[in-house]
């Protein structure tokens, strides 16, 4: 697997979209290529950080409004 292929597969892997048959090849490449390994680690870290920081909880008032809207419809 070339580094270019690895980069393409990496994004799909991080998205949870990489087909199982490509996973082993990708992991083998990452194990043997320090640059791709670092890029993978950073990209995964950015995604995880984004997911952690961007979670919202609907305000209590809005929860009540929507519950009433559904109940009374």
């Amino acid at each position: 697997m070339t580094c270019e292929d690895a980069h393409l597969h990496m994004h799909d892997y991080i998205s949870g979209e990489l087909a199982p048959e490509h996973r082993e090849n990708l992991m083998d490449h990452i194990d043997g290529c320090p640059d791709c390994r670092e890029f993978f680690r950073q990209t995964e870290h950015i995604q995880q950080t984004m997911r952690d920081y961007m979670q919202y909880k609907a305000p209590f008032e809005l929860q009540n409004t929507i519950s009433s809207l559904l109940t009374n419809a």
Binding site: D35, I46, R51, M54, P59, A73
Partner: protein, 185 residues
Amino acid sequence: MKSKRRKSFEKEVLSHLDRLYGYAMHLCKNSEDASDLIQDTYLNALKSEKQYSLGTNAGAWLFTIMRNTFLNEIRRNERKPIGMAGEWIEQMVREDVSELHKHGPDPSVKCLDNLLKEDITRAIANLPEEFKDSIVLCDVQGFSYTDIASILDIPIGTVRSRIHRGRLILRHLLSDWKNVAMGES
């Protein structure tokens, strides 16, 4: 007396409220407009209730309704979507990918390990609109490429390409800012 179907419908759609609110905040940028958008979304969902098959994919269905509701509101107010990608972004991504392919990422760039919430918020805000939606739906909301294609009404290949490019732009923005903040550029 409510039907069993109606009770199940209410339970399914209500379970997505927090996720919808997160996406509404992303679209509207303030809690007041986000709350209004959520209410309009649920009203439109109720109107279209018969089109939804219980136990399928309430999340993608509601996100599609919310996005259409938002776009209709923009059209009604004759506002234009902001932040379409300029040529410079395309050029930057091309150079970035080319650089990565030639040299790989700079292993000394450790600044990306210490990201703050404001770094992430600012980077997402600076992403061009067409990349931003795909990135938020995939990386924040956890939707599949198929669901995102349905929500945004674009081909799956375009979703995939926007997510790949969007992540590269994010990385580029974050490393530039963090390096400047650390006095390295």
